[in-house]
Every structure is written in structure tokens, then in C-alpha cells.
């Protein structure tokens, strides 16, 4: 029994330096996730800002009319279309469309994957942040405005600090989902962690070792993120009282 496992280990990881494949795969997964995360947060913040500014200010802007009103209405509509499409279709399908249709002429599949996952994640981040803003009592906005803060100042000094603390758990949850979702990158020929594990399996005809190894590696990544989340939340809570 033990010898069989040892032989399996030798075959799947040591022979032909196959462990290097896993390492490379891990690196690709981390790269895609990291860049997608940054893109996602950037998009998320912008979309959430547009959507909640629209909800909060459109009445007063309507009275003023003019370019600002048209601009914000247009931006809001665009954001809604974006959210509907991204949240309404599977990530894999988006990835395939990005690779085979939109960026068909590109050979940089890694870049396409980063962008595609980033755009996907942005939709979820946007709704998380918007939900966080909505969850802040209207009285907080009114108190900020009545003290003479403009809309931006109220958001910056009063609302956002409270939002960050509220959305942190949901945001980390989204990051965890993102890490695991990048496992479909193999669909467009990227050799990420999952793909590499599967490649080893297909070469050694031994499924157990490589697939369990891949699973464990994801698990460790996610546990690391959870740990980070815990610490951050605890620190923010300490600041409160």
C-alpha cells in the first residue's frame, strides 16, 4: 500500500520534474487571479460609484438638466447593461467569447484570461459595493450633507469608511470565488494549476495524486485568503471600539 503510493508520487511529481508543471500552473493561476482582482476592483468601484450616484442624485440633476444629467444617465444605463450581461452568462462562455471572438486576433491568451476574469469579477464587486452603500442609513448621508459636505465629501468621509467594513466579508468571498473560477482558463489553452494537474493525469494515467495535489493547492490558497480576511475584519472592529 505504502509502496504503491510512493511509486505514484514518484511517477506523478518526480519523474520528468512534473512538480515543476504544478508550480508553473500555480504561478499562472496566481497571475491571472491577481491581475483580474485589480481589474475587478477598479471596474467594481467605478460601476458602483456610477450606480449609486445615479440613485442618489438623479432627482436633483434632473432639475438642473444639462450635460451632467445626460452623462450620468448614459453611464448608468451602460453599467446596467454590463451587469446584466456579465451576471447573466457563464464565466466560461464569456472567456470563450473573449478569446475566440472579441480578441480572436490576439495570441496572448493569458492577457485575454486576465481581462475576461477581471471584467467578470467587476460585476460582482460592483454589486457588493453598491449593496454596501445602500446598507448605510440614509440619515448618515443627510447628516453629512447637512454639515456642508458635498456628495463626494459625504461619500469619502462619512459613507465609504463604513461601507468598507461592511463589505469586507462579501468582497473576500468574491476573491475566493475568483481564484477557483480561474480554473476554467484551460478552455483557452492556458496552463494554469487545474490544467497542469490534468495534463499530468493524462500523461501518467494516474488520477489520484495530481488531482488531489491540485485540490490541496487551491485549498491552501483559499485558506490563506480567509485568514487575511479574518485579520482585517478584526482590525477594523478594533478601531471601532
Amino acid at each position: 500500500m505504502f509502496e504503491k503510493l510512493q511509486a505514484d508520487f514518484q511517477l506523478n511529481f518526480i519523474d520528468n520534474d512534473r512538480w515543476l508543471m504544478l508550480l508553473k500552473g500555480l504561478l499562472a493561476t496566481l497571475e491571472i487571479t491577481a491581475v483580474a482582482l485589480i481589474i475587478g476592483i477598479a471596474i467594481g468601484i467605478i460601476v458602483a460609484a456610477v450606480r449609486s450616484s445615479y440613485d442618489k442624485n438623479i432627482e436633483s440633476m434632473k432639475r438642473k438638466g444639462g450635460a451632467e444629467y445626460i452623462l450620468l444617465s448614459g453611464a448608468n444605463l451602460l453599467c446596467r447593461v454590463y451587469l446584466t450581461i456579465i451576471r447573466g452568462t457563464p464565466t466560461v462562455v464569456q472567456l470563450l467569447i473573449a478569446y475566440y471572438i472579441i480578441f480572436a486576433s490576439s495570441t496572448n491568451s493569458l492577457g485575454v484570461a486576465m481581462l475576461s476574469f477581471g471584467i467578470n469579477s467587476g460585476a460582482y464587486v460592483a454589486e457588493i459595493i453598491r449593496g454596501g452603500i445602500m446598507s448605510i442609513d440614509e440619515g448618515q448621508f443627510e447628516a453629512g450633507r447637512s454639515l456642508g459636505f458635498n456628495y463626494i465629501g459625504t461619500m469619502r468621509y462619512v459613507v465609504i469608511p463604513q461601507v468598507i467594513k461592511n463589505v469586507l466579508p462579501a468582497l473576500f468571498n468574491e476573491f475566493i470565488v475568483l481564484i477557483k473560477e480561474t480554473s476554467v482558463a484551460g478552455y483557452i489553452g492556458i496552463e494554469d494549476l487545474t490544467k497542469m494537474g490534468d495534463l499530468i493525469r493524462s500523461r501518467t494515467f494516474s488520477a489520484f495524486m495530481p488531482l488531489i495535489a491540485v485540490a490541496l493547492m487551491y485549498l491552501v490558497l483559499v485558506m490563506g485568503l480567509s485568514y487575511l480576511d479574518d485579520r482585517l475584519e478584526r482590525r477594523l472592529r478594533k478601531n471601532e471600539r
Binding site: 448618515q140 447637512s146 454639515l147 459636505f149 471601532e240
Partner: protein
């Protein structure tokens, strides 16, 4: 129109209307009034009569459908004026305090003078200390709102607004969310403020306070300004049927 008393008036409201749901509900129905410098005006009336809406219109937390509101002779309903500048001159105290829960009492008080007025820190500090002492909370500067009682919260909310050195203070049912034993401490602060000559507009259910402190009382019902007068006129010699009915219920 009201040209003679122009210099005195801090707030002048002309034919203010507020409709909800496609003009079927009249929250404010052609309300006109003036609040002069140093005056304490209490707004009373049954719930849903539009008194809070009227008060909140004065710094445009509520957007009127029609009519004009002049603050220091500037029409703040004009979409092109800088409303933030005007709000700085108008302190507002809410029924539910609306303190910032993530900031200390001290930060609640100093953030707006620091970020909006950009005043020097020492000046803000000094003012904050004085104000905290004035409301007997000199030792609670580092506390968070959650650690305060309702009465303490509201007193902090009042001094937070005073930190901006406003020309007028708007009170929107400042004691309605308080336990009965805490109402007094908040009213006391407001009385002191009134005696010091602060211009105040107070929406309240505290008839005793209105009687004692108000220079003028406005009675509202169904979005209309039904009757106005001195406390004596309102409480001793009410003219309209609606006011008589209202007083019979609350007194």
C-alpha cells in the same frame, strides 16, 4: 412683497409646494413664512401634517416641487446655487441623531469644520472642548456614539451642528426618539441656545417647550400652514377648528 423686513429675515419661504406621486399627495400646500434673525419658531401639528417636510426643505434635504426658499436673500431652490455653502450656515439636528458610528464623539464634531471649512486644528479643538463642556459631556470626547445614551447622543448631535457656527439651527423632532427621562436634558440645551439668541426652527411635540421658548408657533395640518402666532395666541386663543381639536388631544 415682504420687502420691509428683508434684512431681518434669515429664511423666507414663498408658496412652497411639495407633491408626491404625481401630484396626488400634497405634503406641502402653498406654505409661506419668514424666520427672522434671533427668532425661535416652533412648528407643531399632527403627524403627517408636513412639518418635518417643511423643515427639511429649508436646507433642501427635501426638494420642493414648487415655490421659493430664500436664505439670506438667496433663493436656494435655484438649481444653480451652491447648496453646500448654504447648508454650512444651517445646523440640522435629526430625530435619530445620525451621529457617525465609526467616529469618536470628538471626531464627529471636528470632521466637518476640518474638511469643509478647513479651519486650523487648534481653533477647532478649542471650540470642541468648550462645546462639550457646555453640554456636560466634557469627558466623553473619546467615546463612540454606541457608548452613549440617547440624550447624550442628541446633545452631541447638537454641538456637532454648532461646531459649524451656523446662523440658524433646524431641529427635526429632536426629542421624539428619546426615553422620557432624557427629554429634559436635550430641551435644556436647546433652551440655553435660544436664550443666547440663536435663530431656531423646531419641529416638536413638546408643547411645554414650545410654550416656554418659542417666539412664534406655526400650526400645520394637511400640508397647510393653518395658524401662526405667539404661544399665548396659539395656546390660549386658538382660532381655527383644527388647532382647537389638535390642542384638545395633546394638552
Amino acid at each position: 412683497m415682504s420687502g420691509k423686513s428683508k434684512k431681518e429675515a434669515i429664511v423666507r419661504i414663498e408658496h412652497l409646494k411639495k407633491y408626491y406621486r404625481d401630484h396626488t399627495i400634497h405634503a406641502l400646500d402653498d406654505v409661506s413664512l419668514t424666520i427672522s434673525n434671533g427668532e425661535v419658531v416652533c412648528i407643531i401639528g399632527p403627524s403627517g401634517s408636513g412639518k418635518s417636510t417643511l423643515l427639511r426643505s429649508m436646507n433642501l434635504l427635501e426638494m420642493p416641487t414648487d415655490g421659493h426658499i430664500y436664505v439670506d436673500d438667496v433663493d436656494i431652490t435655484d438649481p444653480n446655487i451652491d447648496i453646500d455653502k448654504h447648508r454650512q450656515k444651517m445646523g440640522m439636528v435629526f430625530q435619530h441623531f445620525n451621529l457617525f458610528p465609526n467616529m469618536t464623539v470628538y471626531r464627529n464634531m471636528t470632521i466637518a469644520p476640518e474638511k469643509v471649512l478647513k479651519q486650523p486644528k487648534e481653533q477647532i479643538d478649542e471650540r470642541a472642548k468648550k462645546l462639550l463642556l457646555r453640554v456636560n459631556l466634557g469627558d466623553r470626547g473619546e467615546a463612540y456614539p454606541d457608548q452613549l445614551s440617547g440624550g447624550q447622543k442628541q446633545r452631541i448631535a447638537i454641538v456637532r451642528a454648532l461646531m459649524m457656527q451656523p446662523e440658524i439651527m433646524l431641529f427635526d423632532e429632536p426629542t421624539s426618539a428619546l426615553d422620557p427621562e432624557m427629554v429634559g436634558e436635550v430641551l435644556d440645551v436647546m433652551k440655553t441656545l435660544a436664550s443666547e439668541g440663536m435663530t431656531m426652527a423646531v419641529v416638536t411635540h413638546e408643547m411645554g417647550f414650545a410654550k416656554e421658548v418659542a417666539d412664534r408657533i406655526l400650526f400645520m395640518d394637511a400640508g397647510k400652514l393653518v395658524e401662526e402666532g405667539t404661544p399665548e395666541e396659539i395656546f390660549e386663543h386658538p382660532k381655527s377648528v383644527r388647532l382647537k381639536e389638535f390642542l384638545a388631544k395633546v394638552l
